[in-house]
Amino acid sequence: MSETFTKTMARNIFFGGSLFFILVLLGLTFHTTKALPERDNRQNLTDQVAQGKLLWEENNCLGCHTLMGEGAYFAPELANVYDRFGKNTAAIKAFIKSRPANGIPGRRSMPQFNFSDEELDALAEFLKYVSEINDADWPPNIQG
């Protein structure tokens, strides 16, 4: 048994195959962006939520928490924290506000960020907005 295995054919498959799948990816991504509006809760994307997202990023919350399962695995998942806290933004704000400055001895501790009330509102609204995104009802249960 013998077979030809030429480098040029292998190279053609590399270029042809990659280009083919890049085009398929571009097509699917284009379709996804068209299909997103009914899923990504953009109607509730207010300026306050955008401000909340900026606060979320500028305080590196993703350094301990996961959001929609992505981030650090040190602290609870926050995509459904709004539901977990009984659909009540005040509870979220109270929790963030009441973090002790030098932490709880012996426990994983969340820093005290000294947010103003307006910042707390923005963060809570952001977490509410994220919880209403249609993410194929993930996480499996309220615990996240």
């Binding site: 498959i13 590399f14 996804t32 899923r39 305080n59 590196n60 301990c64 695995y73 820093p111 993930w138």
Partner: protein, 466 residues
Amino acid sequence: MKFQSQSVAMPYFIAAIGLFVGQILFGLIMGLQYVMGDFLFPEIPFNVARMVHTNLLIVWVLFGFMGASYYLIPEESQTELFSPKLAIAMFWIFLVAGALTIVGYLAVPYATLAELTGNKLLPTMGREFLEQPTITKIGIVIVALAFIFNVGMTVLKGRKTAISMVLMIGLVGLAVLFLFSFYNPHNIVLDKMFWWWVVHLWVEGVWELILGAILAFVLIKITGVDREVIEKWLYMIVAMALITGILGMGHHYFWIGTPEYWQLIGSVFSALEPIPFFMMTLFAFNMINQRRREHPNKAAALWAMGCGVMAFLGAGVWGFLHTLSPVNYYTHGSQVTAAHGHMAFYGAYAMVVMCMISYSMPLMRGRIANSRQAQVVEMWGFWLMTVSMVFITLFLTGAGILQVWLQRFSDAPQSFMAVQDQIAIFYWLRELAGVFFLIGLGVYIWSFFVEGEEVTVDNTAAPAAA
């Protein structure tokens, strides 16, 4: 070392190993924080230690890739590097920018760092692996462009081989895809979607090209097998890598709000993603079995084979473990993900950089291979690091499975923190394995300083490989 300008790679490799040590130290801090929650709190909270750990990892692997390219391209193109001075200048800029960013993470709270660096003008901070301030990101882009210009000009004026072509495609892909880190829309779903274009299309796309090219180069040099055979394999491996990897990105689009057809596409194509890593293991072992010469650098051969195997285990097997959407529904964002991340990154990218270092460092120090004693110490370092990484992954997988069972799969799911307390035993064991990893790294670094009778004459029985 055929060309003088290849020695530019030396500082890059030294910086890479230095940052590697930093990464492991902060890894150990985090490992301890998992079990002693308030360790170093509030001085170094967990999120800061994590940023330093992940950013040091990416920066030291990038240093390794750049060093490998500066060593490989001149030898492949059979011409001197276009501008060694530019390479050294970029080295210092990248090192200083990196160091400043790490100091920024540690010295001031992250929000203040965002304030100082004017994040509001173009907010790109705060996302995993992309926490660098916007100005640092711009610095990275400049360094990357200068680097690609430097190696690109070298390839243009020299011989064009499949290895340098694949490496260049990988490097250009790396630079272009990094630009997506500047796209940070208010819409969190779009933000995450294109964040994966940086992260996934790097580590499961273009980085596999760089990995393949470096591995092929080292295998040509240490086995003497004909370039034609090795380049055929290289093309097949990178073809499979991109064919499966590009749509394989779908396995990140399961639960972030994107339409549900991604669950089908992502599962099917990411299930095929282990194929290129399996081919890479076959490739490494096949070439070494059919070697035409006994290269005195045994350590580099061990690294090459180890890289193939560990990449297949970590990225292939552990990846497949939780890539199918029905499984991922439960393991998404759990310690199973962390286990896969550790072994995949070490097996594929950390090991290939160390394989290149192990092959090229002796040559840059004026010898064909290190002394027998030095190679034995290096192999001890290899086995200590690799075995402890296997244990880290096993312990995290145990933690992940228990976490999924208690927190998600059972009909009376417990809260996150309650579950974390019950799986603390795995975190203790993982921390222990991490300490052994640091010991292994220490032994590896020590191997560079072991005296002994180096091999200086090339014993190539067969004609030296082209």
